[in-house]
Symmetry: C2
Subunit: 615 residues, 2 copies
């Protein structure tokens, strides 16, 4: 009962299935729930562009604006492309659905693997980047980033296990706080820039360790392209919108793209114009904010807003990941448990799986977002390009009105994202992209194996095509292992006799010379009326071995091909820790019998007769 | 099968019970197996005396010889006392048996608690001190002491799980190597001392931080008294000797005491005479050896010998601890599992318990023997003084020939060890002795609670005084939960019908609208011939809750006070990892039913009908 109360306090009361349809989001809440991944990318993408160019000193940093423009151009292309996807696929499902329907199952699975990896990385990167924003403001927290990230992860997991509508409400506040703060900062920054004029990169930039090369610029572009991760979130989640779902989803996507562009170009423009740089234990956005507002209250508000939106960004994964795994579970590509709605009408198993994987990454990469980024971009752009290519195939196949225009728009998207993917994959290969490239085929292999397993099991279990005739067998022979003479044994014997006349009790003599005493008691209490007692010796003091041998012998002698059933008298202690005071032989025997296989697929029934101790 | 092969490789083949009597030790092997705890104490006792006196500089270190003489006097008293114990208690059992028989159960349990704590600490202290000897020779290992101690612990555990005779053989070599090396070093040291004359403590001693006080000397004595730990080991283990057990045990004990005295006085005398001191990352014995032999091969041999004997000393606990817990398990004071001989005729559970506890201490105290020592001495001397006091009571009670002499000898032992106990307990209280003083009453409380539990259970289970009359009940009503229509369900239904005519299948509708399909299939395959199908709705998508409610309702409607049995169709996957692909509902249901209690102590039988998947 206490367990249930605690669960209820943390997760909330269970919701009946009938409420499922009502848990839809309006546009304001949907923007809060689905766009923060995309919006918050501004934080780590800015940081990556700075880190990528700073190694080439002032000359390198001068390229930041150009790179930002290219990425914003990609954003525009992607937004148009995904608007078309929303229109064509109002049921949602994103890259996996689109690639699978149009490019075949294997490509679909590749997209799914990429997407799942991407969701996990988004959660890990957003949380670690959020904690970095916090630790920029409070440098004494810098050494505790891993622990702080994990704490936030647990909190988000709990919020999500409570369910979607409440999630939307909780998340709306920090998203709009972030937008107001950042748009305000950009506006104020433009005024400052106009008043003060451009800063000098030569005066502030760190010394150059490398010269500017095309490779360096491409590498920086690859890292900065993480600004675009999350753009697809809305197209995956069309069904969570209130009707008309498609239209609401497209409008929300447009609003999101415009906001992203303003935030990204605004911040990176100010950083470039004011020639802002930073050291190893502060983020570049923190440095921008400090430059504009000093170290006062406004600065801390900006950092809190950054942390807040990144937490909500991590939350995007908690909406998307369980949804994709649930769709895949319907197709039998991942374990079936991921298909089930939990108590609160959320996919609890998917949420817990995501949380575990993200926690693992945070620990392994020691809470450092910079080391997670190379893994992140590959998955995202692989999913983008497969989805766009799939859309092209979709339009060609459908040939509806204006199909050439539609195909052309998605074609541009496919080419642009594929080009970006090649750049990212090659320039970040040794920095961690290889891990994702290795994992994706492994995942696809795993998905197929899982489905093959389910198909084999279904084949094995099916009754289709069998003509069934039911003969009621006579009751089975029953064997009751006994360790002494007591009430639990008597109850088990009586139960055994109630279901079958052929009952045998078996005693394994482990303490030498205990058999005589056993037989004496059996006689004394008249137990021979219930069942004969067979004594087995056990020279090696093992219980299970001689007992199994006896069962096999009885089966062989039975002659009717039936396996004897086993009735196990089992103590159930009054308190769980009392289990440590009793031999776990009953449990061990049950497990052994359950997993033991017999010829011809026969099975031996295991009958547990519990005896509940009062003490 | 593979599991068995690995087990056999590591632990060895099982031995039949008939071999138990043959696994006895001759004196040479027994000295190796039982005395190293006592012999090896030289290493850490020396170290503790040095650390205790060094804080008072040269003036403090001058007292080492006097303290060593007092401790050696105590050794002589203890040896005489314990020889009498061996004579009076040829069945062994040591402090616990002696105190319990002569001073009552509670004091016996106090002695037992002290002894068990002591065994654990001996294992932890010996291993950490051994690793410190190793790290003195190879300073680069100093930071890895915890890991090295744990590694050695695992190795010793495995050796002991293989069994006693082999343990004796493995252990004899390092013990005799240690004796030869150390006796040789002392002889060579005496020659050096005679040639070179005394060293100057003033010239070598570290600066004094404290002045010499009685408290400082008593504290040092308390720490140095750990030299005597392990003296009782032989008296606990008389039955492992070859017959005549008592005589062999006493002879071995005398030999051990003489060797201990020579080693202790020899090393501490040389250290004092040659005025040897050391720093923070080297033991004092290492410094002695380095002073005599330089840093050549002989020095390394001495350090290896020290490590070797300390490892074997830790092993003493592996002989004693499981033996004491086994004796206590016979008296129902500790869990019964500790009573059982394992595959290889050793008390495997006791060995594993000891190893876990020692490993815990090594981790908590970060592999530092100096911090473990204050806990160590209290338990040892508490056990000593209770045992000696018990012996006095024994002689007074028996009044055999020369009983006054016997009582007087043990009386001196009792007074001396009690005085030492008071000194140790008070001077080391804040350094960790309080932990043991707190644990001992908790253990005694725990021992009593465990016995009370066993007694209550026996009371509850006993058939004594009951007049039994057996009426064979009619077969129980049976409920079969079904999740679909497939071969596993059909087998379960057929089994249920073979043992009872009253069978009901129950389907819980979790996916809305699946019930109609279920009923259709039930009809299609003619399953209504086997059992009616009851459909239950579950608005909260829970399976267990509605099912239990249905069972309760059926029991209430039955009217005969009997509880319906449950037949569970359970898939058994072909590979263990396939479990992750299937809902664990069958397992969850079994656990829930097993622990569910009913009025009047009735029980509901749980019948598992396994269906083994081929894939």
């Amino acid at each position: 009962m206490l367990r249930h109360q605690i669960r209820r306090l943390i997760i909330g009361s269970p919701l009946p299935s009938a409420e499922a349809a009502e848990k839809r989001l309006d546009k304001i809440r949907a923007l809060a729930a689905l766009s923060p991944d995309a919006l918050a990318s501004v934080a780590y993408a800015n940081q990556e562009i700075f880190l990528g160019l700073a190694v080439a000193g002032a000359a390198g940093l001068a390229y930041s604006w150009a790179i930002a423009l290219v990425i914003t151009g990609l954003l525009a292309i992607l937004t148009l492309s995904y608007s078309q996807t929303i229109q064509a696929y109002p049921a949602g499902g994103g890259s996996y659905t689109v690639a699978r329907e149009n490019l075949g199952e294997t490509i679909g699975l590749v997209a799914a693997a990429a997407l799942l990896i991407d969701y996990v990385l988004n959660a890990a990167v957003s949380l670690t980047a959020g904690v970095e924003a916090l630790a920029s403001a409070f440098p004494s927290l810098w050494p505790y980033r891993t622990g702080l990230s994990l704490t936030l992860l647990v909190l988000i997991t709990l919020v999500n296990l409570r369910g979607m509508q409440e999630t939307g409400t909780v998340m709306a506040l920090p998203v709009y706080f972030f937008l107001i703060t950042y748009l305000g900062m950009i506006a104020y920054g433009i005024v400052v820039a106009l008043v003060e004029g451009p800063g000098s990169l030569q005066a502030h930039a760190p010394p150059a360790f490398e010269t500017i090369t095309l490779v360096l610029l491409l590498r920086t572009f690859a890292a900065g392209a993480t600004a675009l991760t999350g753009v697809e979130a809305i197209s995956n989640a069309v069904p969570v919108f209130k009707p008309p779902e498609s239209r609401h989803a497209r409008q929300t996507m447009m609003a999101m793209a415009v906001l992203m562009g303003v935030l990204f170009l605004g911040t990176i423009g100010l950083i470039r114009f004011l020639a802002i740089t930073t050291g190893a234990e502060e983020t570049i956005l923190s440095a921008l904010s400090r430059r504009l507002f000093g170290s006062g209250i406004v600065y801390y508000l900006v950092q809190m807003a950054t942390l807040g939106v990144l937490i909500v960004a991590a939350n995007t994964s908690f909406t998307g990941f369980p949804r994709v795994t649930s769709i895949m579970a319907h197709d039998s590509f991942v374990p079936r448990q991921l298909k089930m709605l939990g108590d609160r009408l959320v996919f609890s198993n998917g949420i817990i799986l995501l949380s575990s994987l993200a926690g693992f990454l945070i620990v392994v990469f020691r809470g450092d977002s910079h080391h997670l980024i190379p893994l992140f971009a590959v998955g995202a752009f692989l999913a983008f390009s497969l989805s766009q290519t799939g859309m092209v195939a979709h339009w060609i196949h459908e040939r509806g009105p204006h199909w050439r225009v539609h195909a052309a728009i998605n074609g541009v998207g496919a080419v642009a994202t594929s080009a970006a993917l090649v750049i990212i994959g090659s320039s970040k290969f040794t920095h961690g992209a290889w891990i994702v490239m290795l994992l994706i085929p492994l995942f696809v292999f795993g998905f197929r194996r899982i489905r093959a397993h389910y198909e084999e099991v279904a084949e094995e279990l099916t009754l289709a095509g069998q003509s069934l005739s039911f003969v009621i067998d006579s009751p089975p022979r029953i064997v009751v292992p006994v360790a002494g003479v007591h009430r639990g044994v008597v109850e088990a014997l009586q139960y055994a006799r109630s279901i079958s006349p052929q009952v045998t009790a078996v005693y394994i003599e482990i303490d030498p010379d205990s058999a005589a005493n056993m037989e004496e008691k059996w006689r004394q209490y008249g137990l021979y009326d219930l069942a004969p007692l067979v004594i087995l010796t056990s020279p090696y003091r093992s219980f299970i071995g001689p007992f199994l041998a006896y069962l096999d012998q009885m089966d062989a002698e039975g002659g009717d091909g039936q396996l004897a059933s086993v009735v196990i008298p089992e103590f159930v202690p009054a308190k769980w820790w009392h289990n440590s005071l009793h031999n776990q032989t009953a449990w061990l025997l049950k497990i052994t019998l359950l997993y033991r296989r017999y010829r011809l697929g026969k099975s031996r029934a295991i009958i547990d007769v519990p005896f509940h101790l009062r003490h």
